[in-house]
């Protein structure tokens, strides 16, 4: 008698896996802060990634209602602590514009202060993008860029320490100007840094951006097209990575940005390497290009003359007139908006911070559907979130 044939039930042709729920975070090095993702997995494929936020909620908006306007500025530092100068500035711009509504209370920010603000905030933008570049490399599995990025960011932090005494939470930009003038030789040191840093960007591009393994992990992954980005309210490098050229510094120039010559970095379709508009690689590349543009702006400041004069506008107490305003500025992570309702007293009735990271993170659920678990890491790094700003 012939041996029985093996029954097909021993060979799994179409393995069935149960849905598995995995918690990624809250404490996880690649979630850039305290973020918990509830991953519903089918094998290694993500069916649903649900972000749970709020672990860093420090009641910024509630605090603001009990503080006077200048007292709120240090709280903005703690929102996006990677780019705190830009956060200070965004809030001050909103208050200044609200005060300008009343002719008696309005004032002109001195020229010298405007130049200092642009200089410092562009340096901070470079520092912020450097951190994004370094940690993104580390998320993907390249440790070296992280060390390089932090080496250079350290130089920026030392410059900040010289100008305002702090390394992380600066409270430097104030309503009506800046808190203190540059120390002697500060501009020489900035020039020294810029001369040192500019060639490094190309080095980093060859180290990570054009790296075969890195491209394999990021090109064509998690494509967010322009329409989807706008519908989700996504701004900054994430929107520009989708091919849009929208940049508030160019399109609705505030402060003195209209005096500088710079280009808006945006994503491009590069078929040779498989880069698609709005994929992880393009979002990342925009930041690398933006650093070059920031260097260009800083060079123009250094080469031109920074006017002498006061660094603080002359004004009485900060007491904006009754009214409300929404003002947005271009922070490194996108448009940072402040909605302020004032009743004419020294304390605001309502301060609302519209965080660019909050909206960017809300798109994660749709972006990650059907991708691999490892791609989730690539997405989070590419949208470059800071949880301090998401939760406020």
């Amino acid at each position: 008698m012939a041996a029985p044939k093996p029954e097909s039930k021993f060979i799994e042709l179409k393995p069935f896996t149960d849905e598995m729920v995995v918690n990624m975070g809250p404490q996880h090095p690649s979630t850039h802060g305290v973020l918990r993702l509830e991953l519903k997995l089918d094998g290694e494929v993500v069916r649903e990634a649900i972000p749970h936020i709020g672990y860093l909620h420090r009641c910024f908006e509630k605090h603001s209602e009990n503080l006077s306007y200048p007292q709120i500025i240090p709280f903005t530092d703690r929102m996006d602590y990677i780019a705190a100068m830009n956060q200070n500035w965004g809030f001050c711009l909103a208050v200044e514009k609200l005060m300008a509504a009343d002719e008696k209370k309005g004032f002109e920010v001195p020229e010298r202060a405007e130049y200092l603000r642009v200089l410092i905030c562009e340096l901070n933008r470079i520092g912020s993008h450097l951190l994004s570049f370094g940690t993104y490399g580390m998320d993907i599995g390249a440790f070296t860029p992280f060390l390089y990025a932090f080496r250079d960011r350290e130089k920026i932090l030392l410059l900040f320490e010289k100008i305002c005494g702090a390394r992380l939470t600066y409270n430097y930009v104030r309503i009506g100007g800046v808190s203190r003038d540059m120390p002697p030789q500060f501009l020489d040191e900035v020039k020294e840094f810029i001369d040192y840093f500019e060639p490094k960007i190309d080095q980093y591009n060859s180290l990570l951006t054009d790296n075969e393994i890195f491209m394999e992990r990021t090109t064509g992954v998690a494509v967010m097209d322009n329409a989807m980005a706008i519908n989700y309210g996504i701004t900054g490098p994430n929107l520009r990575g989708a091919g849009s050229q929208w940049d508030l510094r160019k399109d609705e120039p505030y402060s003195i940005y209209d005096r500088f010559d710079f280009d808006v970095a945006y994503g491009k379709e590069i078929p040779e390497i498989g880069a698609v508009l709005g994929d992880c690689w393009n979002r990342y590349k925009v930041r690398m290009d933006e650093m070059k543009e920031s260097v260009r702006i800083i060079r123009q400041i250094l080469e031109g003359d920074i006017p002498d004069g006061p660094i603080m506008a002359e004004m009485k107490a900060v007491r904006p007139p009754k009214g409300e305003i929404f003002f947005r500025s271009e922070a490194p992570r996108g448009e940072l908006g402040f909605y302020i309702v004032s009743d004419g007293t020294p304390k605001p009735v309502r301060v609302r911070a519209k965080s660019p990271c909050f909206t960017a993170l809300s798109a994660l659920q749709e972006l990650s559907r059907g991708l691999m678990v490892a791609d989730i890491i690539a997405i989070i790094g590419s949208i470059d979130i800071v949880m301090g700003e998401v939760d406020r």
Binding site: I53, G54, H57, C59, E61, K62, E65, K97, L98, A101, I230, N231, Y232, G233, S244, W246, D251, K322, G323, E324, I325, F326, R328, E335, G337, Y339, V341, D343, V349, R350, R352, K354, F358, T359, L361, S362, A363, D391
Partner: protein, 160 residues
């Protein structure tokens, strides 16, 4: 388009539902009846020469302890035509309900959850209306002016 022109156009289209236009504040705003905000939003998002495709911000406002109303404020922008408009909806503090605009701008999904979390405004028709920043079992809505923080949360002392 200026806010004044948009107001005139909305008034012509929706009539009674457009309650008023406030110009004296720094950012002018249009007050819309709560029940028709979703229709007005869709008209603004799709209407010819309007195309408000970008919801910049959605916020709740509580003006004072004595105020009987809560406000929901929509800051809209058009990437196509580069103009903006502010809409406002006023609802009573008892049982505040507003239709969702999540289907028009996906930005609103999380922003409405946040407004629900901190103000207790219910957005009818929202796909996933639950707390976002605070724990699910938190009591009360902290950004309301009359909010009193609890003494204990899960047997941990709250006031510090």
């Amino acid at each position: 388009m200026t806010p004044q022109e948009i107001y005139t156009r909305l008034k012509g289209e929706f009539g009674e539902s457009i309650l008023s236009f406030e110009e004296t504040v720094v950012d002018p705003f249009i007050v819309v009846a709560p029940e028709s905000i979703a229709d007005v939003g869709r008209y603004l998002a799709e209407g010819e020469a309007l195309v408000f495709d970008f919801l910049m911000c959605l916020s709740g406002v509580d003006l004072s302890v004595k105020a009987e109303d809560l406000e929901v404020v929509y800051h809209l922008y058009s990437m196509t035509h580069r103009h903006n408009v502010v809409l406002k909806v006023i609802v009573h503090k008892e049982n505040p309900r507003v239709p969702t605009v999540e289907n028009i701008w996906k930005t609103a999904n999380w922003h409405e959850r946040e407004t629900f979390d901190l103000y207790g405004i219910v957005f009818d028709g929202h796909s996933d209306l639950k707390r976002i920043l605070l724990p699910d079992d938190w009591e009360g809505h902290p950004l309301r002016k009359d909010y009193k923080e609890p003494d204990f949360y899960r047997s941990m002392r709250v006031p510090y």
